[in-house]
Symmetry: C2
Subunit: 346 residues, 2 copies
């Protein structure tokens, strides 16, 4: 069984897990910042330290890793341990997926986003030109080790960035969880329920992914908020600015909830509850009227689309996502314009 | 079911197959030489023409393909049709495997080697530095269309290069086929039995691969002749000379049969039969005493190795391969030296 989740101190958990498996050697791919902050002291000869940023999530970084694996004589039974956020597991995971046609990996996510989202479901990838995660593969890690001590050094903004995925998980699949989340307004609220909420969020994602590994059907539910969210990230990449993934997704959730309202899937009351809650936690992201055409273009280029229409996952009520929705272009633009016009006023 | 094999004229077979599947668009990856020789006229906007050579089996070529797929708005349901030899299906297949985390492919092999070997079993890959196929993934094509008209323009040397894989298939799994092959000494002999022999060889490979897709066990049988063969190819890459894959494998078969003799798995009589037959078909490949250490180094770096010993598949009698053999270094060198000393004299 792949992607077994373990909660606790990473070093002892990793040692336990390795003892049970037949790896020939271990190589670490580590976010340099995480390594420095937590003094991991892994030894240069068996570790590659990478600078995590959207701009370096590219083929050059992957080539460097392939090179390091080769130099360390990694073979087909070697294990790649990735320690870091979603960047590190996406890139390190892709390098592992393609080295000698695939070697094993273990993920030790160091961010809320990594724990709740990036580490689960086997998606690995890098950006290609301005297209986010255009190149990649499905390659699940053997194990995911969740050590929440890594979060102690994480900036508060990063907590909320990851939290957006939890909001999404609740909205697409679990109304009770959504009602629980509505009570969380401060970092302290989140911290006090952290283990329980992480476990809950990870199990929602894992449950969906297990039913549809290659994203042919039900897994598309997880894309709620992401068609628009990814377009906003692509736009930022083009503009050489950076937007946190969860903040882009929070805008995406707003716009796609609005779109659900526009086409009659979501009630006014439900939309208002979502909009009000997002407004409490997430600042307005600077989008202007003149960005709309670029955003539409990026959404058309999204890899979730088939036959060149724009494919959304929307909400048919809170806790219930519906996939493969292709609203008219005009309706999409109206929803997007609503964000620009209304969010600031809320 | 993946990798369905069809024999016949490619255009009509492709049209039939496509009608049954739900692809959103088609993009061709074609060996330019094949396209020119057979006047395929596919249209520049939906095809990429590549120059097939070991030296361009690299990341640059793959990047160019990803770029072409993007420019042609290929989506997740697009089909990549690869027309060419093993180079084209390996590289085009890897580009398809990693574009949007994997899109479908159909292979139309244009060489004996491509038909008998490269198109089957889902292995895709590119060279990285001097390491052959170091980067790649498992990604089986949906269909394989075998149109032997492509072979009419194939140089005779290329026929024999592909034929080496058929010899290997016979030696590892089918003594009756081996006895049949012994009668084939001229291109005309091969041509007259072509369809039957191709179908037989492909079915041996497919049978083995189906039992062990990810090469954990029985699939390693296919590596007979290849541990040494790949090292010879790596050496050629380093020296900037080119050796045909099958000619390297023919040397590999000789050396590894000799190794099987040295450690008592193969009788003198069987070894002599193999050596004599190879000698009739394949010229001496120029290997010198001073190349031995480099060849040993490349064999140690082979991705089939685990725990840094050199892993061979050897013959326990003709028609019966045994995997995971790790003879002593001295014995390996003796077998290799025998090739240098004895082959010319035969």
């Amino acid at each position: 069984m792949k992607e077994q989740i373990h909660f606790g101190p990473w070093r002892s958990l990793l040692a336990e897990v390795i003892e049970e498996e037949d790896y020939s050697s271990i190589f670490y791919v580590v976010d340099r910042k995480v390594s420095d902050l937590h003094q991991l002291e892994l030894g240069e000869e068996k570790a590659a330290f990478i600078n995590a940023s959207e701009a370096s999530k590219n083929l050059d970084t992957v080539s460097t890793l392939w090179n390091s694996f080769s130099a360390a004589n990694c073979d087909r039974k070697s294990l790649i341990v990735c320690i870091g956020g979603g960047f590190t597991t996406d890139v390190g995971g892709f390098a592992a997926a393609t080295y000698m046609r695939g070697v094993s990996s273990i993920y030790i996510p160091s961010t809320v986003l990594g724990m709740l989202d990036a580490s689960i479901g086997g998606k690995t990838g890098i950006n290609f030109r301005h297209f986010k995660n255009r190149i990649g593969s499905f390659h699940p890690s053997d194990h995911i080790i969740v050590d929440t001590r890594f979060l102690e050094s994480l900036p508060e903004l990063q907590w909320w960035s990851g939290y957006a995925e939890l909001i999404k998980h609740a909205l697409i699949a679990d109304r009770d969880l959504w009602n629980e989340l509505l009570k969380i307004e401060q970092q302290e609220d989140l911290r006090s329920k952290l283990d329980k909420l992480l476990a809950k969020g990870m199990s929602i994602k894992q449950h969906i992914v297990k039913r549809d590994y290659q994203e042919e059907g039900v897994r598309k539910k997880l894309n709620f908020g992401h068609t628009f969210g990814h377009a906003l990230e692509s736009l930022s990449l083009e503009k050489d600015t950076e937007v946190l993934h969860g903040f882009a997704v929070a805008v995406g959730i707003w716009v796609e909830a609005r779109l659900s309202l526009e086409i009659g899937l979501l009630s006014n009351k439900e939309f208002d509850q979502i909009a009000d809650y997002l407004h409490k936690l997430y600042p307005f992201q600077n989008i202007e009227e003149k960005d709309i055409s670029a955003i539409m273009r990026y959404m058309k280029g999204d890899k979730k689309n088939i036959h060149s229409s724009i494919n959304f996952t929307l909400l048919e009520g809170i806790g219930n996502a519906v996939t493969d929705q292709s609203p008219a272009r005009g309706t999409i633009e109206i929803s997007l314009r609503s964000y620009i016009d209304e969010y600031k006023k809320l």
